[in-house]
Structure formats: structure tokens, C-alpha cells
């Protein structure tokens, strides 16, 4: 059985401008959305606060729950239905950070039991103090940062045999981060600065494969974040894990295409770069679609059947895998092409 006929030749690279416009629009939309919302929607893991998951005996409206919480002055919390319908489960989010957080779970339980009887079941309580929230946020950002750094080093070293260059890049980057962190810059800005530095260094040190791969990764994570903001989902620790998995997945895809490009560049030295690239994408297309397909199957299974706690995690993976597959074809490779056109050997010959 075959989905993709051998010898297929779709002109992916020729449609790169459409793809760029599409990607650009999505990224722009994400940025606008995030600015409009005043930053990402942090869950209790990062913002601090309390989250309580309760199971009621009968259908209850969020408004009724809020009313019951008024007794303990927690009626300004956010109450949402959660999980499958007919389970009567609700999430209560309390954003207060100035009060004693440790007893809130208890107070919620008590007030709900007085209002709805003893059948109320507290299924989960997550309390994160403001200081811990800040720590976790930093940890998560550093995790993203380090994974991108190590990946950049690995790709440049592995693909272009420029281990020395990639080590130089790592040292430069570590230096810049060290200096800027000395000025007390917030971690968010630190990451943005680090990313810009990484990209500039890739450009100047001629690490084109790393450049393509990293831009594709940023593209995927940003767009997934956009979908998160659009569907009003919260960022939590496990979502960060999902983002990093997307990073790994997107890279996996990109590397397989890049591997083919390098192989074909050696085989067909005389062919124009653009043609070789397009051929490589087409040759790996069957694999790309198949692997994305099987991965999507299991993620959809998780998304539909995995239950409320894992729902957002599966959603992140779902969006990420789709966007990651798209970006390895339409973003990572065309960036190689643009780089080759601007800075590559052919461009230099013309000059």
C-alpha cells in the first residue's frame, strides 16, 4: 500500500512565499493575541495560587459553586466545568496570593460541603506559593533555553562538521547570558536576547542548518502558544514539557529532511540547489506523512480518551505535531535556500 506515489514531485519550495505569508500571519496573530491578553495565560504552577478539582453528586452550575464560596470570601475565584460531561467535575481557580494559601483547599471543601452536602469530593488540590511559581517559571524557561542551545550545538557540529564553531557559539552565548543576567534582566527577556544572539551567531558563523532548524522550532512553539492563547488554555509545567516534546519532534522531522538534502547535494552536484531541495522534500514526503500520521493517531487517542488532566497536554502535542510537520517542509528548508541565495557560494560567485 502506498499513499505517496514514487517519483512524485510537488513544487513545495516554489510555494514558499505563500507559506511565509501564512506563517508570518500566524506568528503575528500570536504576538497580537498575547499582547492583547497581557502575556501568556499562566496556570497556578507559574502564577501562584490554588486550583481545586471537585466532583459533585449532581449537576451544579459554576454560579452556584461561586455562591457557596462567598461564605469564605472566595467568590472571586474562577469556576469552570471540567472533563467529560455527566461527571459533574469542576475546576476552581483561586488567584489570590496575599492570603494564607495553605488553608484555602480546606476552606473550599468546608464551604462546598455545607452548601451541597457531604457527597462533594475534592479530587485534586494544587497550591503554589508566589515564590515557588516564580522559581518554576524560571526553571521552565531555562529548560527551553538549554534545549535550544544544545540542539543548536548538536546540529551545527553534526551537519556541518563545525564542532569548533558550535562550541565557540555556545561560549559566546553563555557569556552574553552571563553578562545580561548580571544586569538583573528578567528571564523572559534573557531568553529572547539569547535567541536573537543564537540566530545572529548562526548567521555570522555560517551555521545555516542550525539556523533553519532553530527558526523552525521557534516558529512551532510560538504558533502552538498562539493556539493555546486562542483557546484560553493555561500554561502549566506539563505544557512546558509538551512544548519541549514539540521541539524534539519538529527537529526530528527537520533533520530527516536536512539529511536527505545533504545526501542529494553530494549526489547531484550540478543540479540547482532549489531543485535538489525540492526533490529531497518529495523523497521524504511519504515518511513525513506516515510518521506524523501514526503519531497523530496516538495523540488523538490521548486527546479524546485521556481524561481532563491530560487534555491540554494532548492538545499542545496535537497542534505542535501538525505545525512541526508543516514547518519542516515549508519553513526550515526554504530558510536554507534563502541563506544559500544571500550568503552562499553561488551568491558569492555572482558578486
Amino acid at each position: 500500500m502506498q499513499f505517496i506515489k514514487p517519483g512524485i514531485n510537488i513544487n513545495f519550495i516554489g510555494k514558499r512565499n505563500i507559506a511565509f505569508v501564512l506563517s508570518g500571519l500566524m506568528i503575528l496573530a500570536t504576538i497580537v493575541l498575547l499582547l492583547w491578553r497581557g502575556g501568556p495565560n499562566y496556570g497556578v504552577d507559574f502564577s501562584g495560587g490554588v486550583l481545586v478539582q471537585v466532583k459533585m453528586a449532581q449537576k451544579t452550575s459554576p454560579a452556584e459553586i461561586k455562591k457557596a464560596l462567598r461564605v469564605v470570601n472566595l467568590d472571586d475565584s474562577i469556576v469552570q466545568e471540567f472533563g467529560e460531561a455527566g461527571q459533574f467535575e469542576y475546576l476552581i481557580r483561586i488567584r489570590k496570593t496575599e492570603v494564607e494559601l495553605a488553608t484555602i483547599g480546606e476552606r473550599v471543601e468546608q464551604s462546598l460541603k455545607t452548601a451541597f452536602g457531604n457527597s462533594v469530593e475534592i479530587r485534586r488540590v494544587e497550591m503554589v506559593g508566589p515564590k515557588v511559581g516564580k522559581d518554576l517559571r524560571q526553571k521552565a524557561l531555562f529548560a527551553i533555553f538549554y534545549s535550544i542551545l544544545f540542539i543548536a550545538i548538536y546540529i551545527s557540529g553534526r551537519f556541518e562538521l563545525k564542532w569548533l564553531m558550535s562550541i565557540i557559539m555556545a561560549i559566546c552565548l553563555a557569556f552574553v547570558v552571563y553578562i545580561t543576567s548580571g544586569f538583573g534582566v528578567s528571564v523572559t527577556w534573557l531568553i529572547i536576547i539569547a535567541l536573537i544572539v543564537t540566530l545572529t551567531l548562526c548567521l555570522f558563523l555560517n551555521l545555516k542548518y542550525a539556523l533553519g532548524a532553530i527558526i523552525a522550532i521557534i516558529h512551532d512553539v510560538v504558533i502552538t502558544m498562539g493556539f493555546f492563547a486562542l483557546t484560553e488554555r493555561e500554561l502549566s509545567l506539563s505544557i512546558i514539557a509538551a512544548f519541549l516534546t514539540i521541539v524534539g519532534y519538529s527537529l526530528n522531522d527537520t533533520i530527516i529532511v536536512f539529511d536527505r538534502i545533504r545526501e542529494n547535494l553530494r549526489r547531484f552536484r550540478r543540479k540547482p540547489f532549489e531543485e535538489t531541495m525540492n526533490q529531497s522534500i518529495n523523497e521524504t514526503l511519504s515518511r513525513t506523512i506516515l510518521t506524523s500520521g501514526t503519531t497523530l493517531i496516538v495523540i488523538i487517542a490521548l486527546f479524546v480518551l485521556g481524561g481532563g488532566v491530560i487534555h491540554d497536554f494532548a492538545f499542545a502535542l496535537l497542534v505542535g505535531v501538525i505545525v512541526g510537520t508543516y514547518s519542516s517542509i515549508f519553513v526550515a528548508s526554504p530558510i536554507l535556500l534563502i541563506w544559500e541565495g544571500r550568503f552562499g557560494k553561488k551568491a558569492q560567485k555572482k558578486a
Binding site: M1, P6, L101, A102, G105, E106, Q110, I122, R124, V125, M127, V128, G129, K131, V132, L136, K139, A140, A143, Y146, S147, F150, I151, L237, S238, I240, A241, L244, T245, V247, G248, Y249, L251, N252, I255, I256, D259, R260, T284, R287, L290, T291, G293, T294, T295, L296, I297, V298, I299, I300, A301, V304, L305, G306, G307, V309, I310, F313, A314, L317
Partner: protein
């Protein structure tokens, strides 16, 4: 060729056997004694999110420990000064830095300095400007000693809490120190989180203080607090309405006796009111002190203060010898039992604050496991069917690899006695999707080679060879991400990183090594002519 095939098959079978052996304890639950003597008995542990339980991060208020230490030193020094006949005007703690002292006479300076360097090596004496001809000194606590005190406080808090939890009875608790004076506590399977928090978080500082009977509380409340006195409250909660009632007490600041002399605390039932109370016993020194205090203050009231709240203030009827006392209050049996535990385990050296709490009820954990496995089963079956339909016999071989992969991940979890969390299950599910990737890459290459007109045997050979580099590249980068996740992640995220990492390594083994054996057996040894791919 066939010789190497035998070898490889042996390795593969051995690997599978080892994996099965590692999995047996997790599947059967209990292993016979002969098994645990020679074979692995570690089980896959379920994370708190799957089995239910409680995850707490406490912050030891280490500054308070320094404060306490300085207060103690002040008391000690007062005694020493009296002994040395050095008279002072003031002697008190100055923030967290040290102690200030104003001496009465200039000539006492050398005696004082000698006393400090001999008895208080942790302090540096600094002369301050004189006040009205009286010498003023500052005793600065050495920063190293400060760090030592904080470290000790954290260690002691950890030991005390471990003691309390052990006495409370939790199976496999995990208590460990973390940076920034924090303690991480994991209590699997705990049902009453409220009670656990009360038990762990209580400082349990027990003090006995005399009630000041000469002055009136009302006067003191208006702001005329007699020197050496303090106001503490008795808080009683009405069980029906939940209302708090606070009764003020005017107490002597000086502590007559503390809980550090306790040797035992037990729950007993009052036969008259059928209410539980806690009976405590002091050691010899404590008993002597108690006898002294009670003997000197007959018909006066002695307040029992727990963590700054007055528990009760009974009138001393007679001198109490033998070192026994009772703490009464309107306790439930559980409350009395927990109070006895915390008193037995001793007070925390400094108060602790709960800065993170995650509690998962047992029913939710069970739900999560069920749903996780259900999605794994259904997703897995679809992928398996799909591969078999798409690649024919080769698809079956890939499916075999996939199933063995799951076996190896599970065995790997048991081997590292790693913790399986909900995101961990997601990691396994993800590996199911991604582990076929290696085989897809190989099969697509083989198909390409076949199209070029190669025989099955050579097609397989070059297909594997060409795909190998790509597979390694792709899997290694994912492994990098997984390792970073492991390094920076906490709790469930770590569980995800663990399963992902094990999954990547296992899938390299199954997808490249194991499938190749089957292919070689079919198309080299049996010389099957038609390649089903």
C-alpha cells in the same frame, strides 16, 4: 551470516528474557522469597498523580532559627554576667545580626571581652560609641555560624518531620532537603490531607508560663503592659458554628519550662467527660524544674502555651512531683493522637511554611491510570493495524518491534525503579507513535532500493545502512531534549522525560537491531524471494 544471526538472536532473546524478569515483580505484585534473593524485586512505582497522595514543599523559616538562637544566647549571657559580677544596663538581640549590650562600668570591659572570647566564640565584639559614659558593645554573629545555624535548623526540621510522619504511619514517605531551606515531602496514598498538613506544619513549641495575677488583663489590653509580661490568647472554636472565641491572658514572659524536657506524650481518656487528653512526662531535670515551679506557685495559675496560643491555665493545687502533666482541651481522638505525636517527636527548630501543595485523591489517580491505558491501548491498536495494512509482512515485523519496545520501556522503568506518572504514560504513548518512525524510515528506504531493481537481500542491506544515520541523528536530538527536561523538570515532567528517554533508547534497539534479525532470517536464511513491504 547465519552464524552472526544465531548470535544476534541469542542477544535478542536474552534481552527479552531480562526485561520479562524485571517486569515480573511489578505484574505479580508479590514475589516469592527465593525470587527476591537472587532476582530483581523492584517494582515500577506509581507517581502521586496516579496512586493519589500528597506532595508538599515546606520552607523552614531559618531567620526565626537565628532569632531563637540569639535569644537563647542573650539568656545564657545574662547568667554568665551575673556570675562574673559584671553589671549591665541593657542586653538584647539586635535583629538577626547579633546582640547589643550596654555595661554599667567602664572597668568591666576586659572581663567582659574575656568572657565573650572564652564562652561565645561565634561572636565578634565591636566597640560602639559610649552612652553617658557607659561602654556599649555589639556582638556580631559570625556569618559562617549563621549559615551553620540555618543549616542545622533545616536538618533538624527534616529529622523531626520524618519522625512525626513515621509515627503517623505513611508507607514509603519521601522526605528530602532542597535548596533555599526547603524540604520536599511526598506522602503517597494519604487520604486526610488536612490532618497531614496540621501534623507536619505544626511547630509544636510547648511552653509553661505563669499567669500574672497581680495586674489586670484589661489594663494591659489598653496598652499598659507591665514590664516582663505578655498577652497571649486562648482560641476556642465552636464545633457547630465554626466561630472563633479569643480569650486574652496576661502571662509572665519568662518561660518556666519548655517541651524540650519531654520524654513521652500519650493519649488518655478522661473518665468523667469521656474526652481524650494528652498526658506528658518529663525527664529528671524537667521533673525537678516542674516540681520547683509548682511548689513555689501554689494557688496560682500556670498556663500551658502551645505555639504561642494558650491551651489552658489551670490553678496549681499542690506541688507536683514525678514529672507528669496533662494537656486538656476539647480534642477529638485524632487531634489528641496527633498532638501526642508532635510532642513526642519534638518541636521544630523554626516554624515552617507550606509553599507548595499538590494533593491528588486516590479515585482521580485510578481514573487517570484507566484513561491513560485505555488511550494507549486504542491508539496502539490503530497504529499496529495501520502498519500491518500499509507494509504487509514488514508491518508485522515493525509491530513486533513496537510491542517489544513497550515491554522494554516498562522493564526499564522497573530497572531504574523510576516513577510512572500521568505525563509518563503520555510519554509512552508518544513513543508508540514515534518508535514506528525508525521502521518507517527503514522501510521507505528499502522500498526505494527495491524500485531501483535490487534483490530483497541487497535492498534490505542498503536500506538499513542508509536509514541508520538519519535515525541516529533524529533520535539523538530528541534524547537531548529529554535529558534537558529531566534535568530541569520537576515531578510529573521528570516522569515524562524518563519514559521518553527510555523509549528512545529502547526503540533504537527494537527498530534497528531486532527487526533486522527477523528480516535476515526471512530473506537471507530462508531466502524468501518476494519482499512484502
Amino acid at each position: 551470516m547465519s552464524k552472526s544471526l544465531t548470535w544476534r538472536s541469542t542477544i535478542a532473546l536474552l534481552a527479552i528474557l531480562v526485561a520479562v524478569v524485571y517486569l515480573v515483580p511489578s505484574i505479580t505484585g508479590e514475589v516469592p522469597a527465593w525470587w527476591s534473593n537472587i532476582l530483581p524485586k523492584d517494582k515500577i512505582r506509581l507517581g502521586l498523580d496516579l496512586q493519589g497522595g500528597m506532595h508538599l514543599v515546606l520552607e523552614v523559616q531559618a531567620a526565626k532559627a537565628i532569632e531563637n538562637h540569639l535569644e537563647r544566647v542573650v539568656d545564657e549571657m545574662k547568667g554568665d554576667l551575673r556570675k562574673e559580677k559584671v553589671r549591665y544596663v541593657t542586653l538584647k538581640r539586635k535583629g538577626l545580626d547579633g546582640i547589643t549590650i550596654t555595661l554599667m562600668r567602664l572597668k568591666d570591659e576586659t572581663v567582659f571581652r574575656d568572657m565573650v572570647s572564652a564562652g561565645y566564640p561565634d561572636f565578634n565584639v565591636e566597640s560602639m560609641p559610649e552612652q553617658k559614659g557607659r561602654p556599649v558593645f555589639q556582638l556580631v554573629l559570625d556569618p559562617k555560624a549563621k549559615i551553620q545555624i540555618m543549616k542545622m535548623a533545616v536538618e533538624q526540621a527534616l529529622e523531626t518531620i520524618r519522625n512525626r510522619i513515621d509515627q503517623f504511619g505513611v508507607s514509603e514517605p519521601d522526605i528530602r532537603p532542597q535548596e533555599d531551606n526547603r524540604l520536599l515531602i511526598q506522602l503517597p496514598g494519604i487520604k486526610d490531607s488536612k490532618r497531614a498538613i496540621a501534623l507536619i506544619g505544626k511547630t509544636a513549641l510547648l511552653e509553661f508560663k505563669l499567669v500574672d495575677e497581680e495586674n489586670s488583663v484589661q489594663e494591659a489590653l489598653k496598652g499598659n503592659l507591665p514590664p516582663g509580661d505578655e498577652i497571649l490568647y486562648q482560641v476556642s472554636v465552636d464545633r457547630e458554628t465554626g466561630h472563633e472565641r479569643k480569650t486574652p491572658f496576661l502571662l509572665k514572659k519568662r518561660t518556666a519550662l519548655t517541651g524540650e524536657y519531654l520524654t513521652d506524650a500519650r493519649v488518655q481518656i478522661d473518665s468523667r467527660y469521656n474526652e481524650p487528653y494528652v498526658s506528658i512526662s518529663f525527664d529528671a531535670r524537667g521533673a525537678r524544674l516542674f516540681e520547683q515551679v509548682t511548689g513555689q506557685n501554689i494557688k496560682k495559675r500556670l498556663a500551658i502555651v502551645l505555639d504561642g496560643k494558650v491551651n489552658s491555665a489551670p490553678v496549681i493545687q499542690d506541688k507536683i512531683a514525678g514529672g507528669k502533666a496533662q494537656i486538656t482541651g476539647r480534642y477529638t481522638t485524632d487531634e489528641a493522637r496527633d498532638l501526642a505525636i508532635v510532642l513526642r517527636a519534638g518541636a521544630l527548630p523554626a516554624p515552617v511554611k507550606i509553599i507548595e501543595e499538590r494533593t491528588v485523591g486516590p479515585s482521580l489517580g485510578k481514573d487517570s491510570i484507566e484513561k491513560g491505558f485505555k488511550s494507549m491501548l486504542i491508539g496502539g491498536i490503530i497504529v499496529i493495524l495501520f502498519m500491518a495494512i500499509y507494509y504487509g509482512l514488514s508491518g508485522f515485523i515493525a509491530d513486533l518491534a513496537l510491542l517489544l519496545n513497550i515491554l522494554f520501556i516498562m522493564a526499564g522503568l522497573a530497572f531504574f525503579s523510576a516513577t510512572l506518572t500521568l505525563p509518563g504514560i503520555a510519554g509512552i504513548i508518544l513513543t508508540i507513535g514515534m518508535s514506528v518512525d525508525a521502521n518507517v524510515l527503514i522501510f521507505e528506504r528499502i522500498r526505494e532500493e527495491v524500485r531501483l531493481g535490487k534483490t530483497p537481500r541487497t535492498a534490505i542491506e542498503s536500506g538499513y545502512a542508509k536509514a541508520l544515520v538519519t535515525i541516529l541523528d533524529a533520535q539523538l536530538t530528541t534524547l537531548i531534549v529529554a535529558l534537558v527536561l529531566f534535568q530541569f523538570g520537576t515531578g510529573p515532567v521528570r516522569g515524562f522525560a524518563v519514559t521518553l528517554s527510555i523509549g528512545i533508547v529502547a526503540s533504537l534497539f527494537t527498530a534497528i537491531f531486532l527487526t533486522r534479525i527477523v528480516f535476515d532470517y526471512l530473506y537471507v536464511k530462508r531466502n524468501v524471494k518476494r519482499l512484502s513491504i
